[in-house]
């Protein structure tokens, strides 16, 4: 097919300005969403996807508006979720401090890294010293776990151990 046969469909000048503005808004929102994604990591439970429009293709003005609106909505939702989550994490961090200061006041309390928004499997656990004796006498302490279990395969070498 010769290129000359392809007729370009150009948007009118007034629509062109609106499209340019929408494209810029989408770029700005995408930047903010990417920043939020990195801030929120490694927390889970966020929805980042914004519906596909069957691209790659030139979107209509209405479709560009919908992409912009969905990005803005997603950004707003995730910002409020993150804000709520960080507040809860702050409360848990305070609780860890209190547990360390007065373990007997927080018997059997257990806080994990995930609850304070950190990666890894570490957790703080208020447990009695010397088991039953500690329980009876009131000797409580915070035990900090040693982290994630070591990665072990299920193959021959693991079986040989």
């Amino acid at each position: 097919m010769a290129l000359q046969l392809l007729e370009p469909v150009l948007a009118p000048a007034d629509e062109r300005a609106a499209r340019r503005s929408l494209l810029d808004q989408i770029a700005k929102l995408e930047g903010e969403l990417a920043q939020l994604f990195c801030t929120a990591f490694p927390r889970t439970g966020f929805e980042w996807g914004v519906g596909s429009r069957g691209g790659p293709r030139l979107l209509s003005l209405g479709e560009l508006e919908r992409v912009r609106d969905e990005l803005a909505e997603r950004l707003q939702d995730n910002r409020s979720t993150l804000s709520e989550r960080t507040w809860q994490e702050e409360q848990k961090r305070c609780l860890v401090e209190e547990m360390l200061l007065e373990p007997e006041e927080h018997r059997w309390e257990r806080i994990s890294n995930a609850e304070i928004g950190e990666p890894g499997c570490k957790h703080w656990h208020v447990r009695p010293r010397y088991g039953l004796i500690g329980m009876l006498v009131g000797w409580w302490r915070v035990v900090i776990s040693s982290g994630c279990p070591l990665a072990k395969g299920r193959g021959q070498s693991a079986a040989a151990r």
Partner: protein
């Protein structure tokens, strides 16, 4: 190896150019055959795997060049969290597989360029491309390699589409074991500096040269 690349700019369809004034297709032709990956390139992939950690993979979307492609994906109706940009897809695969896997010389060269510069590079068989290559909007019924509805953005030559943008090339236009000359093309979008695109093409040609 040190040499100057003879880069040329492909044409951009009028409607695409009006919508995306910064969109460009930089390309270079070279004599190269596909084949097995030589040990130095495998070593380079291994080193790249070691440098590319989980933290870096998470931060990819915040870096200027990968972010520019994410934005472009959004603007052309692709959700980059559903269909990843090439550099994010490579990062995800690195995390999943534990390393950048070597497949063959050409794919490894494209992977190295994409990861190191953030710029995706496409490869076609130069001898099966007719005339100048560019980007345009497809007409209904064109093949790339499946029948298109019309309106898709494609890389094309004077005979028709070579591939849907960022998709696999048409089997009859892509690189095959019989290929002797390749056409390498990099899509430049708003926010991606010329130097990154040139570096991407240079990286591919240098890596393919290492296998010669």
């Amino acid at each position: 190896m040190s040499f100057e690349l003879e880069l040329s700019r492909g044409w951009i369809g009028a409607d695409l150019a009006a919508e995306f004034p910064d969109l460009a297709l930089l390309q270079v032709s070279m004599e190269a055959r596909p084949g097995k990956t030589p040990p130095p390139v495998k070593e380079r992939l291994r080193e790249m795997s070691n440098r590319f950690t989980g933290g870096k993979a998470v931060q990819v979307r915040q870096q200027a060049v990968p972010w520019a492609y994410r934005v472009f994906f959004r603007q052309i109706g692709i959700d980059p969290d559903e269909r990843r940009t090439p550099v994010e897809a490579a990062a995800l695969e690195r995390m999943r597989a534990g390393a950048f896997q070597s497949t063959n010389l050409l794919d490894d060269a494209l992977l190295i360029a994409t990861v190191e510069t953030g710029v995706p590079v496409l490869a076609f068989d130069r001898d099966r491309v007719q005339g100048e290559v560019g980007l345009r909007v497809a007409q209904a019924g064109e093949q790339a390699p499946y029948p298109l509805r019309g309106g898709e953005i494609v890389t094309a030559d004077e005979a028709g589409p070579l591939s849907v943008l960022f998709g696999e090339p048409n089997p009859d236009r892509g690189v095959t074991p019989a290929t002797e000359r390749m056409l390498l093309a990099a899509v430049q979008v708003k926010g991606v500096p010329d130097v990154s695109v040139e570096e991407a093409l240079w990286t591919v040609t240098e890596t393919l040269g290492a296998g010669a």
